[in-house]
């Protein structure tokens, strides 16, 4: 799946990934391949991303929004 993490000022991450874990408002959740379409607000917390090559990356956010549809994930983040 393809992930983009963007802020109003820059693109923080873009690329193919295997897994993403985000701090959703209703609790932290993970998204894998072929996840159902979802829109959720995000809380302050940590985003974990595992890229296709297996590399793990973390991003600290201060809230935001995630949209998943058709294996395309967009995170609109607010950073501190």
């Amino acid at each position: 799946m393809y992930l983009e993490i963007i802020t109003p000022e820059e693109k923080v991450f873009s690329g193919e990934i295997k897994l993403i874990r985000v701090p959703g408002t209703k609790g932290s959740f993970e998204i894998l391949q072929n996840h159902a379409p979802i829109i959720s607000t995000l809380e302050k917390g940590d985003i974990k991303v595992i890229s296709s090559s297996g590399k793990e990356e973390h991003f600290e956010i201060n809230g935001g929004l995630i949209e998943v549809s058709d294996n395309k994930i967009i995170v609109l983040g607010e950073f501190i």
Binding site: T7, P8, P37, I39, S40, T41, L65, I74
Partner: protein, 292 residues
């Protein structure tokens, strides 16, 4: 005709002015490019947010509980003028002021008579005009352009949301220069608060069957302030970019004018020199003739 020396001095002074204006043009062009990049980087975020906001708003069919979108009887008005801190950018700031005064006269003349219209100036030039016109000033902000980040414009946006929600003002309008391209800036008026959805009715396509967490109502309440913050950021970046565009155009014109002036002065100078030489030769020939 002025003496040779005077013309020479004028040419030198025009040339040095030309150097300054062409340097300023170059600086403005560089800043313009940088500023334009900011707009480009903001676009994906703003578009996505807009799209989500619109589709959810449509799904809720206007059933939204938010103080920030509910229109009220406009009794107390705040007009925000977005201008620049520095001058030498043509009619950039004057246009904003003109548009503001026109807006107040046409749309809010009743409120203005009751002294219920206040102004907020972003940028030093706007603050100066408010002062010289003795207008009712809510506040000024001139620091924003020193460090133009999303964080700083967010503080500003939050300040305005506060003024709106606590009932200090019933409507907040923004007058600013919208960036078209380096040569064209449009002065536009936008209603900042209450937020309305009607202005951009573009087709977002059928909404996919999304799972919405926690729920649509919560989501939209979260998104409305976000969208306002983005709007504020966009307005200020637009104005900042326009400012550089306007300055670039103004300085380009000034440089051209200086070239014309130098050409004209050089012509005068050469003519004066020629006639001085002719006169001298005539004198010598006349003197030699007399000696014969």
């Amino acid at each position: 005709m002025a003496g040779l020396k005077e013309i020479r001095i004028r040419i030198a002074s025009v040339k040095s002015t030309q150097k300054i204006t062409s340097a300023m043009k170059m600086v403005a062009a560089a800043r313009l490019r940088k500023s334009q990049e900011k707009i480009t980087r903001l676009r994906p975020y703003a578009n996505k947010l807009d799209q989500v906001l619109h589709s959810i708003q449509k799904a809720l069919e206007g059933d939204i509980e938010s103080e920030l979108i509910r229109p009220r009887e406009p009794e107390k008005i705040l007009v925000i003028l977005v201008t620049s801190n520095r001058g030498l950018c043509g009619a950039f700031n004057v246009n904003v002021l003109k548009k503001t005064l026109k807006l107040v006269e046409e749309k809010y003349s009743k409120q203005n008579q009751n002294k219920k219209v206040s102004f907020f100036a972003i940028g030093k030039k706007g603050a100066d005009s408010l002062k010289s016109l003795h207008l009712n000033t809510e506040g000024i902000n001139t620091e924003i352009f020193d460090d133009l980040t999303f964080k700083n414009t967010t503080l500003l946006a939050e300040h305005f949301m506060q003024l709106f929600t606590d009932g200090t003002y019933d409507r907040i309008e923004v007058v600013y220069n919208q960036f078209k391209n380096a040569a064209i800036q449009n002065v536009v008026t936008e209603t900042f608060l209450p937020l309305s959805f009607e202005e951009e009715q573009k087709e977002t396509g059928p909404m996919l069957d999304y799972i919405i967490e926690p729920n649509s109502r919560y989501l939209i309440q979260e998104l409305i302030p976000k969208s306002l913050k983005i709007k504020m950021f966009k307005i200020i970046i637009d104005s900042f970019t326009s400012e550089h565009g306007a300055r670039m155009t103004a300085m380009h014109q000034a440089t051209d004018n200086a070239s014309d002036l130098i050409r004209e002065l050089s012509l005068h100078y050469n003519k004066a020199r020629q006639s001085a030489i002719t006169k001298e030769i005539l004198d010598i020939v006349g003197g030699a003739e007399a000696l014969k």
